[in-house]
Symmetry: C2
Subunit: 235 residues, 2 copies
């Protein structure tokens, strides 16, 4: 939970000087915030973050040299608990998706009322995600579409369903990059038997070598048929 006895340390990054000044003034009006830095340069912003460890970073995504998404990644690598809130001019679904995937905690459009920005800071400081309804919708446009594409591949005419239990076990080991001999040992059967199974797998998956069998399995949502337990790997 947020500590209300301390001021929230906020840092601003926006390559547009006017915008930067505007936000700074807006936030300075709030007595509970403390703007620890404001810069037009992403790389400089990064060093400031390293130095001041702000609670919140308000950042434009659309910047020349270093782009906002890359900057989020760089911040992540610092391994500190700074929360990033993205400022953007556009409600582009792809951009929102990528920013959130990289760990942004909030997303605000520049066209929104300035009170929204305060809302965002409050919400994020409270450990929650701030994503206005419109942007949530945009996000899911992308997200659900990507998921649909994914399931298309693993659905339609899935040859994996034709495999027998044993063949599934063998395929599972194949997808771990194990050779005939070792598979035979693991399953405690002869190598020839393994070859027979593998050949049958090839037939059913309509491929003619192990690499393509593995590729087929991976791109069609192959899941080792539950009955098998993983064993620990000695380090």
């Amino acid at each position: 939970m947020r500590d209300f006895t301390k001021k929230l340390r906020v840092l601003l990054i926006d390559d547009n000087a006017n915008h930067l000044r505007g936000i700074k003034e807006l936030i300075s009006l709030e007595t509970s915030y403390n703007v620890v830095g404001a810069t037009r340069n992403a790389n400089l912003g990064l060093s400031l973050i390293k130095k001041y460890r702000p609670d919140i970073v308000l950042m434009d995504v659309n910047m020349p040299e270093k782009d906002g998404l890359q900057t989020i990644q760089s911040i992540n690598k610092l391994g500190i608990s700074t929360n990033v809130v993205i400022l953007s001019g556009y409600d582009d679904s792809d951009l929102i998706y990528r920013a959130m995937k990289l760990g942004a905690r909030g997303y605000v459009l520049k066209t929104m009322a300035s009170s929204k920005l305060i809302d965002a800071i409050e919400t994020v400081a409270d450990g929650k995600i701030y994503l206005p309804s419109v942007l949530t919708t945009r996000f899911f446009e992308y997200f659900q579409n990507a998921a649909k594409e994914e399931s298309k591949v693993s659905a339609g005419e899935n040859l994996l369903t034709t495999l027998t239990g044993r063949e599934n076990e063998v395929l599972d080991l194949l997808t771990q990059g194990i050779n005939y001999k070792s598979i035979a040992q693991k399953l405690i059967i002869s190598e020839t038997t393994v070859k027979t199974h593998v050949n049958n797998i090839f037939q059913k998956l309509q491929v003619n070598d192990r690499t393509n069998a593995v590729l087929y399995a991976l791109t069609h949502g192959f899941k080792p048929s539950s009955t098998m337990q993983q064993e620990m790997v000695a380090a």
Copy 2:
């Protein structure tokens, strides 16, 4: 955009009889809605959906025989434009994530004020996503965590970066399940050269066969180095 001259056709699925009745009464109060069906059985609900093509389906996730998530999948397979709004007793991040991934358009907790349910229906009918702030946060708990795990694998000590340009091209073809001879033809070099490259790739990725090289590539975010163009496959 929603057509306000027509009543919204709503269908309810909830295995709890009391709850089902409650929701039905609540929604019947709204003059702009028309409850075309209400059932305690998911499979029956599915046939009703097929029959009546409702605009909105309000569905409990937590049901005995057929679980809510499976039901969403079944609805998707029907290929109709029905929007699913999930009703759930718990704000479990994993559950929210999976439901939304499967294409749910809204998610409401049973503990929420009943007005929220109306909000949800209105929002979803308007083509938007309805996900209350708390649930959005829960969703992203899961989503961002999964993304972080993903990037951990493709980040840390990535041996793929040590590959030369040519080796990248060869690896790209390897991950397509192509054999030495064909790779040689595609790159217009001799088969021995391909073998040399592949051997070097093995060395660098610390594996000793093609399957493991491919597996390494796929699990470490290998991307064919841009300079290569895909060619069409004849059908």
